[in-house]
């Protein structure tokens, strides 16, 4: 019988992310040390782009000065609109499509990239109002964007990304000076 009721309410349940998502990583984005991205892929293929815990923005008590989804003069991710079940009209992104630029109070600027091919569904406007969300909850409320890969590419898009295990190994091999 596969119908056993959960009675041990003290047992620590896995988090929402652990239950429904797979974590994928891109380390040292575009060769820039430690600029690691984390992609959370839902079992329904939807991907949430977030900063990995190791990203420089999240280190050493830094603060954020601004977040800008206007990635060029002609293109703002804030203008992205999708309609209908088929998500018509969403911007189509490739692996290295920039999503936003984040400037820290020390004037260093970082670009966050899509990391996967797919249709942009939404960006997180909450972090524009409350940039601290990005620092406090980078993997949930501080997400950067939601992307819907093509159905037929839902498995292949993560081929170039690292698994959680591979990523942790990669981080542990970094020279001490790079590690946070």
């Amino acid at each position: 019988m596969d119908c056993v009721e959960q009675t041990d309410t003290n047992a620590e349940a896995p988090s929402v992310i652990d239950r429904y998502f797979t974590r994928w990583y891109r380390a040292d984005m575009k060769g820039k040390p430690c600029e690691d991205h984390c992609i959370l892929q839902h079992s329904n293929r939807i991907c949430v782009v977030t900063l990995a815990e190791t990203h420089p923005i999240l280190q050493d008590g830094r603060t954020i000065k601004s977040i800008n989804y206007q990635i060029s003069n002609g293109c703002s991710r804030l203008n992205n609109k999708v309609s209908g079940k088929s998500k018509r009209g969403g911007q189509f992104l490739t692996d290295f499509a920039p999503l936003c630029r984040i400037t820290c109070s020390d004037e260093t600027e970082y670009t966050i990239y899509s990391c996967i091919r797919g249709r942009l569904l939404e960006v997180n406007e909450n972090i524009l109002e409350t940039p601290d969300l990005l620092l406090e909850k980078p993997s949930t409320e501080g997400y950067i964007a939601v992307i819907l890969p093509k159905f037929e590419e839902s498995k292949s898009i993560t081929e170039n990304l690292l698994t959680q295990e591979e990523f942790e190994k990669r981080v542990s091999e970094r020279p001490r000076s790079q590690r946070s």
Partner: protein, 540 residues
């Protein structure tokens, strides 16, 4: 005696010479006396032949012919519905009589071969395929289906080229038919289908022990004929009327009956005669009857179900074509119902649905099912109650109540105003920070909390992205321990409870994390009630 008139003679002669069967001749005489079609076609043929050759005697016994005509008129008025006086009563001219004589001679020489020849118009359907033997076959198929029924309706599907042949034959005798009655048109010619039914209904009824064969019934017995030899009869129409024959995805051939009828309405007589023989050419074989198809109209049933299991999807759960769970709510409910009604299949619908890991308790969730082609359709209240018991004994994962037969129309009540209805839930909540019982009591005082819910990520792949406002009417809490409490909710239908608790990446606002200022998660969820008052409750 066939109720024929003098003016039918040229029609009969022309058609017999052309190779029409006796019943088709009656059809083109616009004769709507059912009994005429029921008599054996060999007898009809003899009568027709005698009728067209009795010229001399009809002239001698002039008075009796007039008398006959009176009775014919009475029969004909049944056909046409108009007063007999409206129809012209002209005696055939001498010239016409002479040509009549020649035609009659042709009929006689042809007579001997006739009985074995396949009719050029009906392709045998009103000959050997329309009699006791065929009726027995139909009855046998019906009996084999083991259906429960009081009446049946006979439906006939004919090859499309029959329309072409009918048209050709109509053009052949159009002039003569029109002379018979001023208002007569092609529509007054009795259809093959009608003649077939008039002949067969009684025979089939007799074979089935007196079941009424009627024009409208919930049980349909379909007879289909094909005639591959003459399928190409229709093809010339595609050139003259290409718009009528657009290739369709579902149909094997573009030459559907509908398309052919439409094309025949458009084509001019001259153009038709240019491309198609008039009268139609002789076929070498008769139509082939296809398997008899029995179909009972759907039966609809409704009820409410409980789901007691957290690993049971509502409908079969397939990923990449593979089954994820061994069963489902709808399959557990449907299996005993399908076998009781002996239905071929079903369509299941319900007032909303729960996730695989959610239980539905209380009075349960309204559902309805369409049962396709049920072989049994009448169940008493007691029998429905017994069926419900069978379902409930078959599995402890689900339970059904209020099981009843409903009408198709009543099913819409279930979906009506679904959004306005309320639903009650009970959830087990986990909090990251430790809590004390007084930390959560404020939740009990929150009334009509409006949420802004973005389409949850978990369903966003198949639903449109939108922000929907949903109301939580009230909540209550029961403290369990320092990290857990039970949350009761009464909400507007369509509220996503899981997302309200964990926040869905901040995409549902406000959420329980914000209210309690700590991460919260949902460990268990039960639907306690679905407040839709359909179907009516049935006292147990």
């Amino acid at each position: 005696m066939l109720p024929l008139k003098e003016k039918d003679k040229p029609i009969i002669q022309k058609l017999l010479s052309a190779g029409c069967c006796a019943r088709c001749v009656l059809r083109f005489c616009c004769l709507s006396v059912h009994a005429a079609y029921r008599q054996p076609p060999q007898e009809t043929l003899k009568e027709l032949q005698a009728f067209v050759t009795e010229k001399e005697s009809s002239k001698v016994q002039h008075s009796s012919t007039t008398e006959n005509n009176k009775s014919h008129d009475a029969a004909a008025s049944e056909t046409l519905g108009g007063p007999p006086s409206k129809r012209a009563k002209l005696e055939p001219s001498e010239a016409a009589a002479e040509s009549e004589e020649n035609a009659a001679a042709a009929v006689i020489t042809w007579r001997n071969e006739e009985e074995s020849r396949v009719c050029v118009v009906c392709l045998g359907i009103l000959q050997g395929l329309c009699g006791a033997e065929q009726a027995a076959k139909i009855a046998e198929a019906v009996k084999k289906g083991n259906y429960e029924f009081d009446t049946l309706v006979l439906s006939v599907s004919l090859p499309a080229q029959l329309c072409v042949r009918e048209h050709s034959c109509w053009l052949h005798v159009k002039k003569e038919v029109r002379e018979k009655g001023l208002a007569l048109t092609k529509d007054d010619v009795i259809q093959v289908k009608e003649a077939f039914k008039w002949t067969m209904q009684g025979l089939v009824a007799k074979q089935l022990g007196g079941i009424a064969v009627v024009t409208k019934s919930s049980f349909e017995v379909g007879v289909e004929f094909t005639h591959p030899e003459t399928d190409s009869d229709c093809h010339f129409l595609a050139k003259s009327c290409p718009d009528c024959f657009k290739p369709t995805k579902n149909k094997q051939s573009a030459f559907t009956r509908m398309a052919v009828v439409k094309a025949l309405e458009k084509i001019s007589d001259a153009k038709f005669l240019e491309h198609y023989p008039c009268p139609p050419a002789h076929p070498s074989s008769s139509c082939t009857p296809q398997d008899v198809q029995c179909l009972h109209v759907s039966v609809f049933i409704a009820g409410r179900y409980n789901k007691f299991c957290r690993s049971l999807p509502q409908t079969p759960w397939l990923i990449d074509g593979e089954r994820r769970m061994e069963s489902s709510v709808e399959e557990l409910i449907a299996a005993p119902i399908l076998s009781a009604f002996r239905a071929d299949g079903f369509n299941f619908s319900s007032s909303g649905r729960e996730d695989v890991d959610v239980r539905t308790l209380g009075n349960g969730r309204p559902f309805a099912m369409e049962l396709l082609n049920p072989h049994r359709s009448r169940f008493s209240k007691v029998e429905m109650m017994q069926l419900q018991e069978t379902i409930n004994k078959s599995s402890d994962k689900i339970r059904v109540r209020d099981l009843q037969i409903v009408t198709r129309e009543a099913m819409s009540h279930m979906k009506e105003g679904e959004e306005e209805k309320t639903k009650s839930y009970r959830a087990l909540i986990w909090t990251q920070k430790p809590i004390q019982s007084e930390d959560i009591t404020f939740i009990d005082d929150i009334k009509d909390l409006t949420l802004d819910q973005k389409t949850p990520l978990r369903v966003l792949h198949r639903r449109a992205l939108a922000i929907r406002q949903r109301v939580i009417h009230s909540m209550n809490t029961r403290f369990v321990d320092s990290h857990h409490f039970y949350l009761g909710l009464k909400t507007q239908a369509g509220t996503y409870i899981k997302e309200f608790v964990h926040g869905d990446f901040g995409r549902t606002k406000p959420n329980m994390c914000q209210l309690l200022k700590t991460d919260t998660d949902i460990l268990e969820l039960d639907v306690e009630s679905v407040d839709v008052d359909w179907p009516p409750a049935i006292p147990e």
